[in-house]
Amino acid sequence: MITLPCPWCGPRNVTEFAYGGEAGTRPDPATADPTTWRRYLYTQANPAGPVTETWLHRAGCRRFLIVDRDTTTNEILAVRRPADPPEVQR
């Protein structure tokens, strides 16, 4: 069991959260071409090491959070609110 420190609720079991995958910016529908959409949908980094992800505190405050996690150890490196600038750590 790993725990995730929710920026609003504090440390909770990971079973309370829904995994949202690697964090990314949705392409602008007005300008994005099929290649951009394809890359956004299918081709992500899938790194063995640190990765920035979106999670949802589904069984808690039901808010989104941004998590930096090491995929080889499941160690949580940093957590922040989506509106926070990337350098903020909570």
């Binding site: 069991m1 079973t15 995958g21 890359r39 081709t43 063995a48 995929t71």
Partner: protein
């Protein structure tokens, strides 16, 4: 006993009842099953990954196409990855015509594998039973059955009374927490000894001249002018005009070395085994709703598997919530197992693709081939993948059986959606 085991470079002895009796009486040592050869500086084909897929590809390159200057590079020991961590279940009752034809060919090869490899792989065709606990599951099963029959695969939907006859300890009453409405019955399915499959392919490939290098990790892939020229390893550089990515769990990292982007996410899948008990469970039993599949091995242990972990990771540590959830689900199905103890649990890495089908064939980089994206269904596809990848490499063109699984399908929008038959059930 004074005899010692000797490593020889000679081809492996032919295994038979007579040779077993003979060596039992004389006490002569068995020769090594496969040869340890020097790592050369160049090969015609380098295969990355010494699991069932890599070794089968090497075997069929040598036997079907006469290409024997082949090296299999394995960073650990052969069969130490997904090939040794799966739950050894074989079946071909998939959902799409492409998937069914492909896995059915694999089952046909598995059926004759012991004779082909002269190695006892202990294939036991005991039947495969997928339970339906709700109308949606039953609808998907009817769909699967009809597509299966059309392609010529033996499948049928049966009722709770038939399930009770096949699995006497199953709770088929309507008082169960998850009542059983029906099941998909697939008689050709079964279980096999997965280590033996790996060892059998290694022995047969080695006898034909294939070099198997354990503890040899690929650290880089050389690409010059859009073509592959060789690989970097922890034991030095190896030149090769053809490099095949046959890894599971690490397929993104290997493809990244060649600059090929992969639509893959890596998730751990956990499994567990109990203490051995007397035989009572004949078929493989799967419940998609309860995220569980169970079979009893020839030694009497119950082998349990589940769905993949809820988030992507390269960690293969087991977790307490997995084993708690699994135990609860199994007891819903078979309450009489309550006193059985779990001996151990483990995890393997699954490369999940968006459509739950593999990625096979050439890439935009010349000479760099993929046999990856095997999610939770890689072991059962080992022989056919080896056979078809060997043909693909020898001819330069993907055979019809694997053409639908090309990497380009994600760009072309031609996905092969197998989620209805591959997401949990095995």
């Amino acid at each position: 006993m004074t005899s010692t085991r000797r490593a020889t470079g000679r081809p492996a002895a032919r295994y038979s009842a007579a040779s077993l009796v003979g060596r039992g009486i004389t006490g002569r040592a068995w020769p090594r099953a496969w040869a340890v050869r020097e790592l050369r500086s160049s090969y015609d084909v380098v295969i990355v990954g010494g699991g069932v897929h890599g070794l089968a590809t090497a075997h069929y390159l040598a036997t079907n196409h006469g290409i024997t200057n082949v090296a299999v590079l394995e960073k650990g020991y052969i069969g130490g990855g997904g090939s040794g961590r799966n739950t050894a279940i074989l079946r071909s009752n998939y959902l799409t015509p492409e998937g069914i034809a492909f896995y059915d060919r694999s089952l046909a090869l598995y059926r004759d594998l012991a004779a082909d490899l002269n190695f006892n792989v202990m294939f036991s065709q005991r039947g495969h039973l997928t339970l339906a606990h709700n109308d949606a599951s039953l609808r998907t099963m009817r769909w699967r059955t009809e597509v299966n029959k059309l392609v010529g695969v033996d499948s049928e939907v049966i009722g709770p009374a038939d399930v009770a006859a096949l699995v006497p300890r199953m709770d088929v009453s309507d008082q169960a927490r998850y009542p059983i409405l029906g099941a998909l019955w697939h008689p050709p399915g079964g279980i096999i000894r997965h280590d033996a499959v790996v060892w059998g392919y290694a022995r047969a490939a080695s006898a034909r001249g294939v070099a198997i290098h354990q503890n040899t990790q690929v650290t880089g892939i050389d690409v010059v002018g859009g073509r592959v020229t060789g690989v970097q390893t922890n034991r030095g550089h190896v030149a090769a005009p053809v490099v095949v990515n046959c890894t599971a769990g690490w397929s993104t990292l290997i493809s990244d070395m060649a600059g090929v982007e992969m639509p893959v996410h890596t998730f751990p899948l956990q499994a567990a085994v109990t203490e051995p008990v007397q035989p009572f469970l004949t078929p493989v039993v799967v419940s998609g709703t309860l995220h569980v599949y169970v079979s009893q091995t020839d030694r009497g242990e119950l082998v349990f598997g589940a769905s993949v972990d809820p988030f992507a990771s390269y960690s293969t540590r087991g977790s307490l919530e997995f084993i708690e959830g699994l135990a609860g689900h199994v007891l819903h199905l078979m309450p009489s197992l309550h006193s059985l103890r779990v001996l151990r649990q483990w995890a393997g890495l699954c490369d999940m693709t968006p459509d739950y089908s593999p990625i096979m064939g050439p890439t935009p980089v010349g000479g760099f081939y993929l046999d990856v994206g095997w999610g939770t269904y890689g072991f059962k596809a080992g022989p056919v993948s080896g056979e078809q990848m060997a043909a693909c490499i020898a001819t330069g063109t993907p055979p019809d059986l694997i053409a639908p699984f090309a990497l380009s399908r994600f760009a072309d929008g031609r996905l092969v959606g197998e989620k209805g038959a591959a997401a949990v059930g095995h």
